[in-house]
Amino acid sequence: MTEETATGFAQWPLGNGPIGEPLDRVDGQLKVTGKATYAYEQRQGGKPLYGFLLGAAIGKGRITAIDVSDAARAPGVVHVMTHENVPEQGAFGPPVVPNGYARPRPVLTGSAVQYYDEPVAFVVAESFEAARFAAGLISVHYDRQPGAFDLTADLSKAYKPEKLNAGYETDSTLGDFEGAFAAAPVQIEQTYSTPYECHAAMEPHAALALWSGDELTVYMSTQVIANARGALAATLKIPVEKVRVVSPFTGGGFGSKLLLHAEPVFAALAARELKRPVKVALTRQQMFANTGFRPMSIQKLRLGADRQGRLTAIGHEVWSHTARYEESAEQTAVFSRSLYAAPNRLTRHRLVALDLHRGEWMRAPGEAPGLMAVEVAMDELAEKLGLDPIELRMRNEPAQDPERKVPFSSRALVPCMREGAASFGWDQRNPRPASVRDGRHLIGIGMSATIRPNAMRPAKAEASISADGRVTARLDMTDIGTGSYTVLTQIAADTLGVPMDAVTVLLADSRYPQTAGSGGSFGAASSGTALHYACRALRAKIVEAARRTVGSPFEGAELTEANLANGEIQAGNKHETLADLMPLIAPDGLTAQGAAEPGASYKAFSQYAYGAQFAEVAVDMDSGEIRLRRMLGVFAAGHILNPKIARSQLLGGMIWGVGAALMEENVVDPRYGQFVNHDLAEYHVPVHADIPDVEAVFLEEQDDKGNPLGIKGIGELGICGAGAAVANAVYNATGIRVRDYPITLDKLLPKLVRNDREI
């Protein structure tokens, strides 16, 4: 079913059911009582064996000898796997393949080491402790070779990738950028850099694998069931139908659980060999090198404007890293093709191949690092023009998508900035930097625009109703802490006109209809639309059965779908609950399917969610310490399915932005290629004390171009621009512009005026 027309989707009437209500999470109680079962807690298949990975001690080179005899003899050890005895697996293939998600991801493929901490051995034992101890007894000799670990040192070797993530074009040009920039009376030309960052999901990557004959079941922590399933089948060289992947709860992913990593492969290989279930979790330290990270970026911004602040030229060029063996090309400048109007434009992406693991999508790939450059450059331009930063952005509001030349499906950047400015007290900002003090602190306010594409991916869902009137939805969508269970329950209940507690949503099992899972902020729109359609189809079936069944109170009645509401069929003065009616009209229950596809409107319209973010910081003049004081995000993202859960999503994203601006950095040691700080004591993310006062609000927005529910993705929206708002606030506080993130106190100190008691 699809109800798309040339002008958009017929919108499902909202307001009568649970969609839009700030409901508690349906799985909240399970989670707070510890009954939500995560991958490593699964107990299927009886007592498992435990695996432990040993990582490479070098960044590049070759294993010359590996001696596992002590490990193999250690108490409790049943198996040690190395490249010398690993079973046959599918070949990895070239750096770029059409579908990287489904490619084989073999482990222990040979003696070559491609990145630091890459698994070189796998120990399986009766306990986790025994496996870990034995892993420490393996003696590996390496021939260490010089590697390239430093992006800045190798910029001259940058190359142009064929395509970017998500299929975006590598470069774009419009008009005469170079000429227009050179002629612009006001110019900004600056280079910004963002560091490697770690997803640091709370739940470590984990898997439990068990075989039944030639059929494999893997309980694992993943964002996308189908990705894991396809890649596992390809790696193990077995038909995809023989692989079942189950992931009822995932404790955060943020993009680090889109791809198959080593742990399920090891678990599956060892379980097959040993004929027992095998369980593996990565340690926190291992997650840093082995589960992807945000690539570092160097971004050159060139903005040309006339004296009134109208942009005549926008140039955004990006250099980032990729692994040598597998290409990943973050779409850092892509949003610049749409955010502001300007007749002359240029975006470029270049990659430098390094001997590091590949980068992976991390919350808002593209926008998160990209806006930390663009929105600071806009702040710099506003200052140069003597214009208010919000006014500058308003003067460059495009009437249509500037590069695609198609209309926006909706665009609420200006209302978000206006609303945010009023609520936050933007008029109190002193445009002269370093001019507001509170004791020994300098106070500053900054803002940023927020933009994030609204995406949809193909998804399917099934909805059924049993004879007792209970509804069950099945789809392989995941809930990675985002609230999928809850919003899908709301969608099913709303669509079917039944109460929330009549609906059970079953997720994240490859036996259920395939969705695109959780990623790219497309989860709710894709899975939600598919489930909505399934429920619409089920609704029609119920009504039809009520009308057609001999002896039904509604036999022969003129029923439409509208007759189903509040868990009842109503017509005239008759009403019957579904629980009463179902045994009569469909004693075996009824089932229906639904499917969602990105429609023609994605091509015909430019679809984004927008927002505006505001931050106030205090900078200690003596120490240079920067602390957030308060933050506000105002967002417009279509219909909000559940304002309570959505608020949490947005706050989480904003807090990530604070971390990106002020503290997050995976430091690579260019001598060895390792991430120096690889635990949560040394890789800093914000703690509660860093986030004293943060709020997210939504503006009402109607957008019928994406889907029948009028929803847009919000999982990544909050981080977009959050870091830039903080960075601009730091500048407003201190007059010091740090363009090399994160903005740590050591970068401020050399220019920071000391606290002077007389002032």
Partner: protein, 324 residues
């Protein structure tokens, strides 16, 4: 983690004797640092003697000071009314350290004896003289933003991570130990800690089996007590620089001060040169500036940590200014 045996000690002397009796035995109290290091294979004792259930008392001393049993938990010490009233710098330092959960477990003795957080010490693949004597120091030419600018050696530039010990150093705390033979020693902080020199793996002057029994604080010196910790986030981060100071000042005129610095050296660093400079002549302003400069006399940066020299001087001056 290497398999190990375990026993629970009945009393301090028994504990000391039990550790002395085995070459690879170690005390364990809260375990907040030791267990992490054991899991990573950096510490690998064959035997653990659990002292966490030995009496944990805080007693007044005859001279008006305080005797803090080594098993007193960090949270309990920070909440102790006598500490809050008479040694607020110690309570502030304790609460600036770690997290609530860790402070609930961590003991006074264990806090003194915690190992450095140098990332190269924590990565067994990296050369580290502290972990593997003679293997070299990776931090010297590596990422050393958190490392020492004072008291380091060519063998090691790691810092001591404690906040508590910095306040204790400023307070002239002494450390009381129990020896395996039943005797005891009483050490000043700078006798207790050893600088790395050529043997960074030896961090204290404790003998095999010698156990920290208590920390004694002399009566609080007159003056305002301040603990200021500079860090990369508002909580749960080790100090880049910290200052513990007891400043005797009246109406803006500085008298004497006791100042110790954290985050800058392999041990809590008593800033004696700064204290001397404060005692010199001239205006309070001038003496505070002189003290700030003197606090970093002989300091040396290694690249990423260069900023600590400027930062520490600013912090000494800031704290003195606040106290004056």
């Amino acid at each position: 983690m290497r398999p190990f045996t375990y026993e629970r000690a009945g009393n301090p002397a028994e504990a000391a004797a039990a550790v002395a009796a085995r070459p690879e035995a170690k005390f364990i109290s809260g375990g907040t640092n030791l267990l992490d290091l054991m899991k990573l294979g950096i510490e690998h004792p064959a035997h653990l003697v659990d002292i966490s259930r030995l009496p944990a008392t805080i007693e007044d001393t005859i001279d008006g000071g305080l005797r803090i049993g080594a098993q007193v938990r960090n949270s309990d010490l920070a909440a102790e009314p006598r500490v809050r009233a008479r040694y607020p710098v110690l309570a502030m330092a304790l609460l600036a350290g770690a997290s609530g959960q860790i402070r609930n477990k961590a003991s006074t003795g264990g806090n003194l004896l915690q190992r450095t957080r140098c990332a190269y010490f924590y990565d067994r693949n990296m050369p580290c003289n502290k972990r593997e004597p003679g293997s070299g120091c990776s931090a010297m030419q590596g990422f050393n933003r958190g490392h020492a600018v004072l008291g380091a050696s060519d063998a090691c530039i790691a810092t001591h991570p404690s906040d508590m010990a910095v306040a204790m150093s400023a307070l002239d705390a002494r450390i009381e130990t129990i020896l395996p033979d039943g005797g005891s020693r009483n050490l000043a902080m700078d006798e207790f800690y050893r600088l790395p020199e050529a043997t960074p793996h030896i961090e204290t002057s404790l003998q095999p089996g010698e156990m920290v029994a208590a920390v004694t604080l002399p009566p609080p010196p007159p003056g305002r007590q301040i603990y200021r910790k500079v860090r990369d986030r508002a909580s749960y981060a080790f100090a880049l620089v910290s200052v513990a100071a007891i400043v005797d000042a009246e109406r803006g005129r500085i008298g004497g001060a006791q100042i110790a610095l954290g985050g800058v050296a392999p041990m809590p660093w008593r800033a004696t040169a700064a204290e001397r400079a404060l005692g010199g002549s001239g205006s309070s302003e001038a003496r505070m500036r002189a003290a700030a400069d003197a606090s970093m006399q002989g300091a040396r940066g290694y690249g990423h940590n260069e900023f600590k020299i400027e930062l520490a001087m600013r912090m000494v001056q800031s704290v003195l200014t606040e106290a004056a």
